[in-house]
């Protein structure tokens, strides 16, 4: 793996956009190399037997502070594009930076020979239209079955975590999205709760078809494990406290005070007994379990009464968990115990408590038809947890995109090679010097397969030539096989990218690169006029 460092230096060198080209106008010079160096440090190359087939993406969260730290206006602009890309599609941020950098570099070749940036920008615009046309042609519309989605998720996740873990996450991510998907409605990824647990190793990350609450029952006599249980979700205070009416206790003697307290307590006891009644009604003599999950408090007396009846009670559940609970187990959340019916109960196949050090977790699993699921991320330390969390987020987005687009694009640089090829063929149809812009655009896109080859330790030029030759010969969409450095048919290998990611890439890169070129020209003109 030591050799991998070297080609990357090449990327930095080549990404040194318009390094000496600025010539007369110092103000127009800008370099991207440090930007990319930053990336290569932040996101080390994925290692393992199966290298990724697309570019590594920066983790979602790092992109925002990343763009804030950058002072240089051009660089910060590019970083903002990457952030926007992430917001819209959740993927493709590194490609964004690479393509913009390469577009500027290719344009510089022509501009230094005297071509006006305006014409290059025109060429870019024409090339973009054509590229989008190609994109529409090569997109593969197919049934988004589990297999395809797994391929999509795998392509996205393997760039972020190591292969073994990626395969585990892939299944979990796809299954969770499929579980929360409702036909005819947009997918709400909030329905997939991501729960962290600092425990065991990262490969123990699993999908829970239900919910994990990070607290447990507070009564020692309550069962730690209940199977086939009814679940009552409620928001009713079961603790003795002062009544809402602002009135102090006015009493003459200790007995009188006791009496008042008792009367107050009675109020709570009535509520508890209503719940117990319901339990008796639905469970009868069967050995079904009964769980009460309350958003408000339950005091020790009430816990005691419930424990005696074999009811497991959890108090002070978090508000956001309450919403999920009804989605996961069914039933409705009750705000009063007055109208309790068996209809408002949910159901779960298995409920158990798990203690980890000082913390207790309650797993509510095997729900019949969960509309909200939990991805339980485990890892030995905070860093691993964050890394997996970011990867999972991206994976979820990728799967969601694929389902919503209804189509996918072959990955591994296949699209870029195809587009470049099409652009070269399209070039003669363009009038005038704008052709050069189209050529620059075509060359710039090839950075993607080149960097892929480079990152996996192959000679970029040789690999690119091979892939292009294969593509021209077979007419199929050919990408780089990172294991061998040879061309391969991306679709056959199951490497799929998101359609909307690519579309967004083409749009935003072109616009930003053109704008930078034009602004650069204006800046330079300003500088020279000042001198004159």
């Amino acid at each position: 793996m030591g050799a991998l460092g070297l080609p990357l230096c090449g990327v930095q060198r080549r990404a040194c956009v318009r390094g000496g080209g600025g010539g007369g106008g110092g103000g127009g010079e800008f370099r991207l190399n440090w930007l990319l160096r930053g990336e290569s440090v932040l996101y080390p190359l994925p290692s393992g037997e199966e290298p990724p087939n697309t570019l590594p993406d920066p983790p979602q969260h790092s992109s925002l502070p990343f763009s804030e730290q950058i002072q240089h206006p051009t660089a910060s602009l590019i970083a903002k594009v990457a952030t926007a890309q992430d917001d819209i599609t959740g993927d493709g941020t590194t490609s964004n930076v690479l393509i913009i950098g390469e577009l500027l570099k290719q344009a510089d070749l022509y501009i230094s020979e005297g071509l006006h940036p305006r014409i290059v920008a025109e060429g870019f615009e024409i090339a973009k239209e054509k590229a989008l046309e190609v994109l529409e042609q090569v997109k593969v519309t197919k049934e988004m079955d589990r297999e395809t989605l797994i391929d999509v998720a795998k392509t996205s996740l393997r760039t972020k975590v190591h292969t073994e873990l990626a395969d585990i996450l892939t299944e979990a991510v796809v299954d969770s999205v499929l579980a929360v998907r409702k036909p005819g409605e947009p997918i709400d990824l909030h329905m997939v709760e991501i729960m962290e647990m600092k425990h065991k190793s990262e490969t123990d990350t699993t999908l829970i078809r239900g919910l994990v609450l990070d607290h447990g029952a507070r009564h020692p006599d309550m069962k730690k494990r209940v199977e086939d249980a009814y679940i009552l979700t409620c928001n009713v205070s079961l603790e003795y406290e002062k009544t809402e009416v602002s009135a102090g206790f006015f009493y003459k003697s200790a007995e009188e005070r006791e009496k008042l307290v008792k009367a107050e307590r009675k109020f709570i006891e009535d509520r508890v007994s209503k719940i117990i009644d319901l339990k008796r009604r639905v469970c009868g003599d069967s050995d079904k379990g009964f769980i009460v999950i309350n958003q408000k408090g339950i005091d020790p007396f009430s816990l005691d009464a419930l424990a005696k009846e074999g009811i497991v009670a959890l108090r002070r559940a978090k508000r956001r968990n309450m919403e999920r609970l009804t989605l996961a187990c069914g039933g409705t959340a009750m705000n009063s115990v007055e109208d309790l019916t068996p209809d408002c109960l949910g159901h779960a196949g298995l409920v158990y408590e798990y203690t980890l050090g000082e913390e207790k977790y309650t797993f509510i699993e095997k729900c019949d038809n969960p509309r909200s699921v939990t991805l339980l991320i485990r890892g030995p330390n905070k860093h691993t947890l964050t890394q997996i969390k970011d990867a999972v987020r991206d994976g979820l987005r990728a799967v969601k995109n694929a389902i919503e687009d209804g189509c996918v694009i072959p990955g591994a640089g296949a699209l870029e090679v195809a587009v470049a090829n099409a652009l070269v063929k399209h070039k003669p149809n363009v009038k005038g010097r704008a052709q050069l812009g189209v050529q620059a655009f075509a060359d710039a896109l090839l950075i993607i397969p080149k960097v892929l080859a480079q990152n996996s330790g192959y000679d970029p030029q040789e690999t690119l030539v091979k892939v292009q030759a294969e593509h021209a010969e077979s007419g199929q969409l050919t990408g780089v096989d990172l294991n061998t450095g040879e061309p391969m048919v991306a679709a056959a290998a199951g490497i799929w990218d998101n359609y909307n990611v690519k579309k967004q890439l083409l749009h935003s890169c072109t616009v930003i690169a053109s704008n930078i070129l034009l602004v650069d020209e204006i800046m330079r003109a300003g500088m020279s006029s000042l001198k004159g």
Partner: protein, 543 residues
């Protein structure tokens, strides 16, 4: 049994006061008048405060980082070698972590001078973590990475910034998680005590936090203390304006969301014009040091909060709040005598008789004291005086009506009745004094004995370190607050919104500001004593 209370410390000065406060509770004398379970939780390894402390980046020293608890070595069966880093800070911390040692020190009396000395007021007491003497739970300290504690840039200066900070979903979630962690395990959660900095952006943080508490835990008490350090010389007028605006907005929002709100500071004024800091007759403290000023406030706070921390629970935080806050008077003032001037050997009636004319306490709410002391309601706590039996010889004519009372509580009640005729006073008398062992600073006058009493004749004083002091405090709903709030209103009006455009750029809308101003005015009217409406003030208000 007193119900459980969760404590929140928002800001650096709140951290300073908190650090001293936890220190004061560290090694109580054998008495069990105060319930430990009220503020501390018993975890798997030892008691830790039920605390969430919000701090800015750089505001917590090495002690706080990462939760301050060494990894348990239970699972390791091999040899363990300990390497301790020498240095004053560590030595201090070690002392704190072995409370047994500290009290042993106190018992043997002499107290090795080197060991027992409070840390000198040098670099070792810059941050509150330097003199924090208890262990904290790993979930206690929450460092907000967005802003710097110190330095020129990236400061949390304005109310709006603080508010915005907690609008961030991640931040809020983290806070809710931590709150939930403590609240969930409480059997009888009685409420929250929030220590909040008023002078900087943390007042905005406090506004949001109390809003969340009120929303999530309705019907629980929320007792908020608005803390301000002693204002230094007014070098930067802009900073001064910020301070006043933060304090005003803080008071409005915090009092709206809390059951009871009390400004607490040694600074003489919250307004634009600085006033000299409050002085106590037997305390020589350096007002410019947070280490000193927060220690005085902590002693007062430890006593003020007694009513809802008693083992023989006679009232909860809610009771206290409701007693003091009727008819919208949610803001209360704190008075304290630190230490309560009592001559050694005198009984409680004797001690109180010496102050027939004037209650010896000082106002800790940044406002000029008024000559006529009157109040609507108050909760008074006296601790550490009544060890000597108050009973005089039977048959003799008691020297004063105070001596005729049977119990200490009655004595205090009678005394308050004469000092504040017509006011509703709840009183508590505690035997145990306020224990001021290091790292509590040595700020007391050399006149005081080791138990914090005055000598009967001035010649016989010993310069021993003061180990405990008697304290008298009162939480008062009083007309003084009208002056405080009115003055603040006037200052704000004078200030206008033009002069601090940047403050409003940071998130507070001008309309919100005017609304707050209006609320402040309404609030101040609650404290008007019907019969003495001084018209001059009203006229100036109306324009």
């Amino acid at each position: 049994m007193a119900g459980e209370v969760v404590t929140l410390q928002l800001g650096h000065y709140a951290g300073c006061v908190g650090a001293h406060w936890w220190g004061l509770q560290r090694c109580p004398p054998e008495g069990t008048e105060l319930s430990h379970a009220a503020l501390l939780r018993a975890g798997r390894d030892g008691c830790t405060p039920r605390l969430i402390a919000l701090e800015l980046k750089g505001g917590v020293g090495p002690l706080g980082r990462g939760g301050a608890r060494p990894e348990p070595l239970a699972a390791w069966r091999g040899d363990v070698a300990n390497y301790a880093e020498p240095g004053t800070g560590t030595a201090l911390r070690d002392r704190g972590q072995r409370p047994g040692d500290a009290s042993a020190d106190a018992d043997c009396g002499s107290g090795a001078p080197g060991e027992g000395a409070a840390p000198s007021a040098g670099s070792s007491t810059q941050l509150w973590s330097d003199y924090l003497s208890v262990q904290l739970h790993p979930r206690s300290i929450y460092v907000l990475q967005q802003y710097n504690h110190d330095g020129d840039s990236g400061r949390l200066e304005a109310f709006g910034q603080g508010e915005k900070l907690l609008q961030d979903a991640g931040c809020m979630e983290e806070l809710e998680d931590r709150l939930h962690f403590y609240a969930e395990e409480c059997d009888y959660l009685q409420g929250f005590q929030v220590l909040c900095d008023l002078h900087d952006g943390f007042s905005g943080v406090g506004a949001k936090v109390t809003e969340v508490l009120q929303d999530e835990y309705s019907r629980k008490g929320i007792l908020t203390w608005g803390l301000t350090p002693v204002t230094h010389t007014v070098a930067d007028s802009q900073k001064n304006f910020y301070r006043v605006l933060n304090a005003a907005l803080g008071i409005v929002h915090l009092s709206a969301h809390s059951s009871l709100f009390c400004p607490l500071s040694l600074s003489g004024s919250l307004g634009i014009k600085p006033q000299p800091p409050i002085e106590f007759p037997y305390v020589n403290y350096d007002a410019s040091l947070n280490y000193h000023s927060s220690a005085v406030l902590a002693a007062a706070l430890d006593t003020l909060t007694v009513p809802y921390r008693l083992c023989s629970s006679r009232g909860s935080m809610m009771h206290l709040a409701e007693m003091l806050s009727f008819s919208g008077r949610k803001v209360v003032a704190a008075w304290a005598a630190v230490p309560f001037p009592a001559v050694r050997g005198h009984s409680l009636p004797d001690a109180l008789c010496a102050h027939q004319q004037d209650v010896p306490w000082k106002l800790l709410s940044s406002c000029k004291e008024q000559k006529v002391s009157r109040c609507f309601a108050q909760s008074v706590v006296l601790r550490g005086v009544c060890k000597e039996s108050p009973t005089s010889c039977p048959g003799q004519q008691p020297p004063s009506p105070l001596h005729a009372c049977e119990t200490a509580e009655q004595v205090l009640q009678y005394y308050l009745h004469t000092a504040f005729p017509g006011a509703f006073s709840a009183s508590h008398v505690l035997e145990q004094p306020c224990v001021t062992l290091p790292p509590y600073p040595r700020i007391f006058s050399p006149l005081l004995s080791r138990q914090g009493f005055l000598p009967d004749d001035l010649s016989s004083y010993s310069a021993a370190a003061v180990e405990s002091i008697p304290v008298l405090t009162s939480l008062q709903s009083s007309p003084v607050l009208r002056t405080l709030l009115c003055d603040l209103c006037k200052d704000l009006q004078k200030l206008g919104t033009r002069r601090c455009a940047s403050f409003f750029a940071a998130g507070v809308e001008e309309d919100d500001f005017h609304e707050a101003l209006q609320e402040l005015r309404t609030l101040s009217q609650c404290y008007q004593m019907g019969f003495e409406a001084d018209n001059s003030e009203d006229e100036s208000d109306s324009d």
